[in-house]
Amino acid sequence: MKIIYTNNEGGVSVIIPTGELSIEEVAAKDVPEGVAYEIVEDDAIPSDRFFRNAWVANGAAIEVDLDQAKEIGHTIRRQQRAEEFAPLDEVIAKQIPGADAEAAEAGRQLIRDKYAQVQEQIDAAATPDDIKTALEVTP
């Protein structure tokens, strides 16, 4: 058994008891005062935490807020793009002798085009799995 409640940030906090106290005692002690909570079965908590910060409580169920999931998806997209840009940026910024700056710039354009497409796919996503697909993460 676990306890869920909506936290100050609007997300879901999940309390995992150690077993030293009963679930009711843990709820009385560890849920912030005055906050509504639900005691749920273990399988009510998703094991996929890819969009953990987009979790919202709907009664005793946890759902993924699509708009917040898209924000997370865009953050990951920017990180992935920056990682792919980095070696090409280095060639251009440092004017490394023997390196082909034109090829590096062409490579950067390919990355821009790729991630512009990913951006469109994330914006158009109808489900969290669509966002993962756009990011080439196994749904």
Binding site: T18, L21, R49
Partner: protein, 221 residues
């Protein structure tokens, strides 16, 4: 008459109404008052118990005595052996709050001092080892009622028995995976520790938050 500790290990000179001569020996002090090295380490075995019951079956009852403190997942702090010491069928002083199936369990003498000079502040007040990824799960703990999973790499450790105040010291470790990521499990500065809980944030070397497989927290006060 002065009280004398003799070379033979006896004490003499205690007047009428006190203890008779030779009733306290250094050997008795050594064996009956202070813990031996093995007593300090405790007796470790595995145990099986059903949540809500007090009947514990252990793999080995050797070294377990009635009155010993019992430490294990789901065992309420302060639980002792009521009966069955020395056997594999033990009755605890309090019902377990979780079901154990051949899980680690330890017994510590409740009647002996640990060692001269060791004082409360040198003892760990609480600790927990948990997996913060996938289905967040607590591996083992002491004096921790629960972990709150607040988000990615964002955890609160809640104490069963509160600390005397919020001025305790926490030690927390995280993991280094086989890639390039280095993690640090840090006190969340925006939410200072309280006597009842401490909030921790698992940070990567890039500054972001990340779930960690090995979160370990120890509290001293």
């Amino acid at each position: 008459m002065p009280i004398t500790i003799n070379g033979s290990g006896t004490v003499t000179g205690i007047s009428a109404g006190g203890l008779p001569d030779a009733s306290i020996t250094l050997d008795e002090l050594a064996s009956s008052v202070y813990s031996s090295f093995s007593a300090k380490d405790g007796t470790h075995t595995t145990g099986t118990i059903t949540s809500g019951t007090a009947a514990l079956t252990v793999a080995s009852g050797s070294g377990v005595s009635n009155g010993d403190y019992v430490v294990g997942e789901g065992i309420t702090p302060g639980t002792t052996v009521s009966s069955g010491g020395g056997t594999t069928s033990i009755t605890l002083s309090a019902n377990a709050n979780t079901t154990l199936s051949s899980d680690p369990i330890a017994f510590y003498s409740a009647t002996k001092l640990l060692t001269p000079g060791l004082v409360g502040g040198q003892l760990c007040r609480a600790w927990v080892n948990f997996n913060g990824t996938s289905t967040v799960a607590i591996r083992a703990s002491y004096n921790v009622s629960s972990i709150t999973d607040n988000g990615t790499g964002d955890y609160t450790v809640n104490f069963t028995t509160a600390m005397p105040d919020a001025n305790y010291a926490s030690v927390s470790t995280s993991e280094h995976d086989n890639g390039t990521a280095l993690d640090w499990l840090l006190v969340e500065g925006d939410i200072p520790p309280t006597s009842s809980a401490i909030r921790l944030s698992n940070r990567t070397n890039a500054g972001g938050t990340r779930d960690t497989r090995f979160a370990m927290v120890v509290i001293f006060r």
